[in-house]
Symmetry: C2
Subunit: 799 residues, 2 copies
């Protein structure tokens, strides 16, 4: 054998830098190979040596005083390591925790239980089976109290006081919000030709993510460090709260949100189970896993909506909308979890004026405590916009019907015009950009709107109940700016770190956390677009407080508007630094260089250029750098958005209602969204498809109902129906693009648009279908029985 | 039960911020609780599900052509998953890898084996036992070649050519280095009153860290990501090299250096075992662990020294030293691993002029290949300074003896004076600061030098062999600056990231990696000193390429001089930003604020102040920030030092030699070090104690010897002796402080000083003790047999 072939000595700059396509556009999701091949790692996949399992005993009743809790039999059960009660927590000052809305919530009940499903005790055991079995051995004596189940009676003088833990609290009032000028609005209403009012109930619903909530808490007593894997949409905010609750310093807490099977707001709040698992690990010195089962998730966590609303619209007789006035009663359950972290007028409900150019508007909201699980989570609603859009779009279509006008054309006549941006609404918001008429016209074009109307007329003559529903919306997403948010004293701003390795590969670290939105792809595209690096060469890190910059999480469609801006701007910082290095490499002034995706070229001499990869090697390499350049191509940013972004959309739905069974079938659904610059159209379409299914579920089948004793009637997916492929049509999507002028790449966010906009289109379509019956007051969900009752002239029955 | 006591809603700023002592000073090591309680996590503690184990077949001979390798029996052995040969690697272009010195090294031998212990094949199996058993079933046929064992014959015309893999290579020459002006030096020598020359051998030694080398390689084929836990002193440089070797992009490789049980240069190179484990994981799709046993570590990895040196010193007759001239033959074994990554003249050997103010100096070095394991690692030697110091300090004491002068006082008369700094040496180095005379006088004071000399005289009269040895040194540590280093094309600069959490707790991320030096404590102190935050509230992250900024590792005492400067400067960046925020909080101009450790106070109104914790909360909190301030208190830096730092020291050793057995006992050892600003004196003392033990071992017992066939004679700790508590005296340490003017906190580094400086003091002491015998040419290690032979007038025998 002789000397073997071998490559010559290589140096770092020789690492493969083949150019791949870079930047925005349709590309497959980088995270999907691990998901489709079963290599995702979810919280329940975390299995640590010696790990124990926790189960939670929950209250069987909605309202009761706790007389006694006897855990002796449970403690004696084989395999049980610890039984934790509220009293035990109280002894350590841990029985209550702050919420993200500046309320407090019981970790484990001590004085009273306040909703069915409330956490009363927990068992930590060697396995899940022992823990669940031992729960049944805990003997709790309750002194039953009358519950408050109907928000309309929560403020009655004789209503039992739910939150008697709050000092001096003598009623069930939670908070009041208002937005707009009441007197000015009343004046416009007084002079209006037409006033239409509408009572609307947006029922309590549940986001029902594929993965339930859970965590693994691992406290290391030697290092004094707590590591918590958890299904959290906001790991940094959660870390701060755990620091407050558990008394551990912030830098000794690491919250890891691994792969997450859907959030939709359900995973924004901190649930008592997380804190109990932490206490379990502190007590036992072992890692402790807690995973909700489906029933716990559906009955005890993360509800949204539950709004009883009256809306009024004032218009001229020829259909010019003048003003809106609304009054809302919001049921937030027993504790105010995530309803009110914002300082915007009326929370985000204040954006209820939608896409319309109004003279005046006013809304008022009263939130009350009831004996239900905490509600008000930001379920694809940008903090209450979903309810507002639904109410107003019902009102506008009702107005069109009253005036005998076409609902699409009446909207076209009332939209804010493109030349009016930036547009200040009567409630104090400043919209960034949009062409609302173009968006709706595009939806009408795709739908073949006029043909549909003709078809409807033909079918109606044949006794068929075909309906066409229209809804449009403008969302306010991308919370901050920082001064408008306050979660536990923390403002809304998001960090982003970018590190370019010597060979030009990069890693970007996000403060936001993906629950399925495709951050690993989208953010690689954003950075790749700015730096001319293939997204395949850019790794995205998220969901680990130790290894990402501070930020307040993913909800309210804020990832792209806030962190997306941060990612683009931090890449531009790197590019600015690269320009200086390139100028030294090419021996020209920085201003004489032109950036051509991925390279700096000497202006007028394109043959003289250096790639970003060559610059990265120079930045890390041997040899001098220009004066003042430190070396490396790393940068960081904390981004505080100057304004919210305002995506909009126009949706048209075609339904058929079976005259015999009252079954509603969504035959077609056209969704045209304008989320500004589109980074990855495939991902946007996926987001829209999912949101439309959400909206269809809420419109037709989803409701968390309670009996008069406060028993939850939706504790399984047999009771709480969510749409499947069978109920959903082939979504037809389109788009317009009006970039946000204050976002560095013009993106506006699209995560919640379809959920926000679609229910009104479906309900409007059903009401349109039922026009022969003269129905206006139809409330979701439009189950066959509810529609049938309405067709018989009966009031909408409860579920 | 009534309403339970509970704390009111808390906000983030309420997280405990009790003030602890901050900054520099003696404090217990933050990492020690986990080490002393058995909670450290070393590479061998990493156990992954499904993990396989690898063992390496090594060459039994020093030089041979490989005729054939038959792995069939090994492959059939139960539990074996893969048998990897050089030929298999060659088929994928992986048989050779670059070294950190721009040489290439065989991963697994293909054409020839070039040293005893060279890697020939490896087995991956279900457990370590199966892997080791299967090694014995691999049948390798060797065609034995004559070896080159003695460097003095490596360049003989008839010497076999070892590196015939290198194109056109017809001899065993490795490289030549020189420093200084040969002609000018010769001229000074020609005119000198006195010229003394000395031949000195610095034997091959081994750092013998407590933990051997090893790794766990885990390749995820779905994500295309390689994670490698390894005992590496330079994880970022290793990552780059793996990218070059394995063809994986850099951002898909994560190198984690967990807790490490000592490095001392042994863990700087990349060993074939790492690459084989990576290939094993790629082949099997499973994690693969490789851990050296002690014998492999001692025979195949990380050797240092092996220098045959002649030194000459020119002086006036009254003892003024004029010039130095040296010629060195360096044996770097079969591959040049880490000997020459530097572009300084003669590597760091060029600092051989030490603490002396000379007219001229010149050195020349020839390095050769031999059939020994690769040598030249930076074993506590700042890249060859150890050898240089030893040679020159032997020479200076010899000169004193020849002139009949006291060796301490002769040194005092020849030192560079404090007013001469910055001092340019004749070999092109610019020393930063020092007061060498003060340092030696402090050592003489502690030792009671004059009393010792008197005692020596008394004892000598009684026939007792008491010796007093002196050595002094100036080291050049803290490599870069970047332009002077080049490892695989990468320059020497170190990043540091600092993140201050909302409540003022902080995390600092280092590019350097601790192998026991106490980085988690020292760097927390550096940052704490700058920001007025308790070191307990500052976590230090290191040793993980995914989560630390780029840098070239810990060796050459560079952590404090380079990364320590980076940490101080990045903290000052944060402080500058905090000043702007504080000025807004206090409504005064930034310039009107005074920084008083931990707070900004309004000048002249100390009652008006804000703490760094309050500023951190403001930076992250709700509410506006001053114009241009992004929010957060994060910062990053890449630090390129403007110069090396130059710690110095003066050591005095007292020995007794048993006239009958020739056993040397170190009775006292006084070490006075000047490492500039002292961050944690306790850690400095620990470093010095360890280095003195190193030096004692090299002086008295350590040598890796070879027989004429190239068989290594030091394959276990029974053969390769290292000192224990029994052999070491109670070290007496002292210090002087001359801060480095170009280091932000004036620190110079101390990790290697005692190893560098102590051998000469011990050997000089033994020669002094043996003065009655007229011995000058005594070479380490001073084993009883060697000393006894010398006392009999015989030349020093080989071991």
């Amino acid at each position: 054998m002789t000397t073997v072939e071998r490559p010559p000595t290589r140096r770092a700059e020789e690492i493969d830098n083949d150019q791949h396509p870079v930047g925005h556009g349709r590309m497959l999701r980088k995270e999907d190979p691990r998901f489709v091949r079963g290599r995702g790692r979810y919280t329940d996949d975390v299995r640590l040596p010696g790990m124990l399992h926790m189960a939670i005993l929950r209250s069987p009743v909605a309202h009761a005083r706790i007389v006694s809790v006897d855990t002796s039999a449970a403690e004696a059960h084989p395999g049980v390591r610890a039984v934790i009660t509220g009293e035990a927590l109280a002894a350590q000052g841990l029985a209550w925790m702050p919420t993200l809305s500046n309320d407090v919530q019981a970790v484990l009940a001590t004085d009273k239980v306040r909703f069915q499903g409330q956490e009363v005790a927990c068992v930590v055991a060697d396995d899940r089976y022992a823990a669940r079995d031992a729960l049944e051995l805990i003997d709790v004596e309750y002194d039953i109290l009358p519950p408050v189940v109907d928000a309309r009676h929560a403020l009655d003088a004789d209503a039992p006081v739910i939150r008697d833990d709050l000092e001096g609290k003598a009623d069930n009032h939670c908070f009041d919000w208002e937005a707009g000028d009441a007197a000015a609005t009343d004046a416009v209403f007084a002079d209006a030709d037409v006033v239409v009012s509408q009572d609307v109930v947006y029922p309590r619903v549940h986001p029902a993510p594929m993965e339930t909530c859970g965590c693994v808490a691992d406290f290391d007593p030697v290092e004094g460090r707590l590591t918590l894997w958890s299904t959290s949409q906001a790991p940094h905010a959660h870390r701060t709260l755990y620091a407050l609750v558990a008394g551990l310093p912030e830098h000794k807490i690491r919250v890891i949100s691994p792969d997450i099977g859907g959030g939709f707001g359900n995973k924004v709040p901190i649930y008592p189970g997380y804190v109990c698992a932490i206490v379990g690990s502190l007590l036992t010195g072992k890692p402790v896993k807690w995973m909700e089962d489906r029933s716990e998730n559906l009955t005890s966590t993360g509800f949204a909506r539950d709004y009883i609303m009256r809306g009024e619209i004032a218009a001229t007789k020829d259909g010019k909308i003048l003003a809106l006035r609304t009054n809302v009663l919001a049921d937030h359950g027993a504790f105010n979890g995530t309803a009110a972290p914002v300082k915007y007028p009326a929370g985000f409900f204040g954006v209820f004026t939608g896409s319309y150019d109004l003279k005046a508007a006013y809304c008022h909201m009263t939130a009350v405590y009831t004996n239900k699980a905490p509600g008000g989570v930001a379920y694809a609603c940008s903090f209450r916009i979903t309810e507002a859009v639904y109410l107003v779009e019902r009102l506008v279509s009702r107005l069109a019907a009253e005036l005998g006008q076409d609902p699409a054309r009446l909207r076209l006549a009332n939209f804010i015009r493109p030349d009016q941006f930036p547009y200040a609404t009567p409630t104090g918001w400043v919209y960034d950009s949009g062409d609302y008429a173009a968006t709706l016209r595009e939806a009408m074009r795709i739908a073949g709107y006029d043909d549909l109307r003709a078809e409807q007329a033909r079918r109606r003559e044949r006794g068929e109940l075909m309906g066409i529903g229209v809804s449009t919306f403008t969302e306010a997403v991308g919370a901050g700016p920082r001064k408008h948010m306050d979660i536990l004293g923390l403002g809304m701003a998001d960090g982003c770190d970018l590190r370019v390795h010597p060979t030009g590969k990069a890693v970007v670290r996000l403060s936001v956390q993906s629950q399925g939105q495709g951050h690993e792809t989208t953010f690689a595209q954003i950075v790749g677009e700015e730096l001319g690096i293939s997204p395949d060469d850019i790794d995205v890190v998220h969901g680990d407080t130790d290894n990402t910059p501070f930020g307040l999480g993913t909800y309210g469609s804020r990832s792209t508007p806030v962190s997306g801006a941060a990612a683009a701007l931090v890449a531009r910082k790197v590019r600015d630094k690269a320009r200086v290095i390139a100028s030294a490499m090419l021996e020209v002034a920085p201003d004489d260089l032109e950036w051509v995706k991925g390279s700096f070229q000497v202006a007028g001499d394109p043959g003289r250029s250096v790639t970003i990869q060559e610059i990265a090697m120079r930045a890390h390499g041997a040899g001098d750098l220009p004066e003042g350049v430190e070396g490396s191509l790393d940068a960081q940013i904390t981004y505080n958005p100057p304004n919210l972004t305002y995506p909009n959309g126009a949706y048209i739905c075609v339904v058929d209602v079976d005259p015999g069974t009252a079954q509603v079938r969504v035959r077609r659904f056209v969704a045209v969204d304008d989320c500004g610059t589109r980074i990855n159209p495939m991902i946007i379409e996926g987001q829209v498809h999912g949101g439309l299914a959400d909206g269809l579920g809420m419109a037709l089948m989803e409701i968390i109902a309670f009996d008069p004793e406060g028993n939850c009637l939706g504790g399984s997916l047999m009771d709480y129906l969510i749409p499947t492929a069978l109920e959903t049509p082939d979504w037809e999507t389109g788009f317009t693009v009006t970039p946000s002028p204050h976002h560095p790449i013009g993106a506006k966010g699209v995560g919640e648009s379809a959920t926000v906009g679609s229910p009104a289109a479906i309900v409007n379509a059903v009401i349109d279908a039922l026009a022969p019956y003269g129905i206006t007051g139809l409330d979701m969900p439009l189950t066959p029985s509810r529609v049938w009752e309405a067709m018989q002239g009966h009031p909408t029955p409860p579920i």
